[in-house]
C-alpha cells in the first residue's frame, strides 16, 4: 500500500487567527438563513415539506415497504391458504394466523384451506417484507400505507377484514387455482 501523506492546508495569518475564516463562515450561515427566511415568510419553503398538509405519497417508489396486507385475486378469492410460512418467518412475530378449512361445497374447495383469522400486530411489525418474500401464494404484500396510528394497542392489530381492506385486489399474478387456465 502506498502511503499518501495528506498535506495540511497552509493557512495565512488571518486564517490562523480565525479572522477571515470567521467572516467566511458567518457569510455562509447568514446567507442560508436569509434565503430560507424569505422562503418561509413567503409561505413556501423550498426544501421542507410541511407533513400533514403536504405529502410525498405520489412519489413513493414502487418498492416502498409500507403496511403488510392480504390481497384477493381477480375472482375475489382469498389468495392466502394459511400455510403459516409468513407467521414462522416473521422476525418480530407480528403475524398470528388461525387456519381454517374450506367447506367441500365451496367453489374453491380444491384449495382446502383459508385463514379463519389473520392478525398482524402493527406495533410489532418492522416492515421488513419477509412475509411477502416467503409467501408461495403471493397473498401478502407490503402496501404503501405508512401512517398506521391508533389510540390503543387493540386498535393497532390489523385483523383479516382490515388487511383485505388495505390490500384490495391484485390481478395478473400466478393463477394456479384458476380452472379456466
Amino acid at each position: 500500500m502506498a502511503t499518501v501523506t495528506v498535506q495540511r492546508p497552509k493557512l495565512a495569518w488571518h486564517e490562523k487567527l480565525f479572522l477571515s475564516t470567521l467572516v467566511k463562515g458567518l457569510k455562509i450561515t447568514l446567507g442560508h438563513a436569509l434565503r430560507t427566511f424569505r422562503q418561509i415568510s413567503g409561505g413556501k419553503p423550498k426544501v421542507t415539506m410541511e407533513y400533514p398538509e403536504q405529502k410525498w405519497d405520489e412519489n413513493l417508489p414502487e418498492h416502498y415497504r409500507g403496511a403488510p396486507a392480504l390481497v384477493t385475486d381477480e375472482h375475489g378469492r382469498e389468495r392466502c391458504v394459511s400455510c403459516q410460512l409468513c407467521e414462522f418467518i416473521c422476525p418480530p412475530k407480528a403475524i398470528k394466523i388461525t387456519p381454517g378449512e374450506i367447506p367441500s361445497d365451496d367453489p374453491w374447495a380444491k384449495v382446502e384451506k383459508r385463514p379463519k383469522e389473520f392478525e398482524i400486530d402493527m406495533i410489532r411489525c418492522i416492515y421488513c417484507g419477509m412475509c411477502e418474500e416467503v409467501c408461495p401464494e403471493q397473498a401478502i404484500y407490503l402496501r404503501k400505507d405508512y401512517a398506521i396510528t391508533g389510540e390503543s394497542r387493540a386498535e393497532m392489530v390489523h385483523d383479516k377484514k382490515r388487511l383485505y381492506e388495505i390490500g384490495g385486489v391484485r390481478v395478473g399474478l400466478v393463477n394456479k387455482w384458476n380452472e379456466l387456465k
Binding site: 470567521l22 463562515g25 458567518l26 455562509i28 450561515t29 447568514l30 442560508h32 438563513a33 436569509l34 434565503r35 430560507t36 427566511f37 418561509i40 415568510s41 413567503g42 409561505g43 419553503p45 426544501v47 421542507t48 410541511e50
Partner: protein
Amino acid sequence: MASLLASFDTVLLITSVVKIIFLTFLVIMPMVAYSVYAERRFSAVIQDRVGPNRVGIPLTLFGLKKDIQILGIGGLVQPLADGLKFFLKEDFTPRTVNAFYFWLAPCLTIVPALMTCAVLPFGSELDLSILGLAQPVKAVIADLNVGPLFVFAIASLGVYGIVIAGWSSNSKYPFLGGVRSSAQMISYELSLGLSIVPVLMIFGELNLSKMSVFQDAHGWLLLPLWGDGLSLERWVLLVPVVVSFCVFVVAMFAETNRLPFDMAECETELVAGYHTEYSSMKFALFFMGEYAAMIIGSGMAVTMFLGGWSIPFAPLLGLDYKPGDTPLWLGLLHIAMFFAKIVFFILFFILIRWSLPRFRFDQLMKLGWLFMFEVALANVVLTAVILIAFNR
C-alpha cells in the same frame, strides 16, 4: 416604630420593587423563553429547515379570521408549550447523587445570572409625574458606583452551579463537564476583566449609568460620530476599544458556555455535560440560567461599548437625555432601544453558535492563556499610552 417607618423612603422602596419585578419577571424571563424560540427558529433557517411553526395563538378558535403570525412565521407560543412541558415532565433524581448539592446547583446557576441585572441601566429615566412622583425614576434597579465589578463578582459565581452539578451528579460525564467548565471559567475570567479595563480608563468611571449618559452625549465608544466623539483622541482610542470589544465578546462567549466554547456540555463528547443527570424543571433552570447569562452579558457589552440605552445620533436628532427633563415617551423609547440592542446581540450569539465548530479543549486553554490574556494586557498599556499622549 413610627420613626423607623418614617426613615424609609417609601417611594424608593416601591419603585425598586416594581423595577425588580418588571425587569426580572416581565423582561428577562420572557426574553429567555423567546431567545430559546429564536435559537430554534434561527438555527432552523440556517440549516434550510422551517423550525417550530405550529404552536400559535388560536384566534381562529375564537372566531377570528387568522391566527397571529409575525412576518408570516408561526409558532409564537412555542415557549409557553416548552415551559408547560418542563413542568409536566418527571423530575427524576438518580439514587446515587448527593441530593442537597444536586438540588442546589440549578439555583446557583440561575440566581447569579438574574442578580447581575440589578446594575444594568436599562433606560435613562422615567418621568412619572402623572403618577404623582416629583422626582423622575431612574431606570436601573441599583445605581452602583462599581457596576462592572459587581457584575463580574456575581456572574463568576455561576460557575459554582456548574461545578457542583457536575460533582454532585456522581457520574463521569457531568464530572468531566464540571471540571472543564471551572478550568475554562478561570482562564477566561482574566481576559474578561482585563478587556474592560481600557474602557474604564477612557470613561474614568465605574458607574454603568454614567457611562451610558456619557455615550449618549459624546458618541458610543464604538461609534464616536457626535459630540466629543469627533475629536482625534476618540478616533485614536477606537483601536484599543475595538480590540477590547473583541476580547470582551469572545470571553463572554466562554463565560456563558456558548459555542464555540461550550466545553461544559459538549454533546458530542460528554452526552450533555454537567446537566446529563438533570430532568424537568431542574434542567430548565440550567437552560434559563445560560440564556439569562447571555442576556446580561449582552447588556454589559451594549452598555459599555454600544451606548446602552442611547439612541444613535441622539443630540443631532434632539433625542438626547437631559437629566431631570426627559419626557416619558423618550424614557420609554430609551428602554426599547436598550432591549432592541440586546436582541440584536442575542441573534449574533445564535448565529455564531450555528456557524463555528467547537474548539478542542487544549486549543481553548491555549487561546485563553497565550493569546487573549496577552492581547488584553497589551491593550491596557496601549490605552494608557494614548491617554497620556493626549494629556488626559
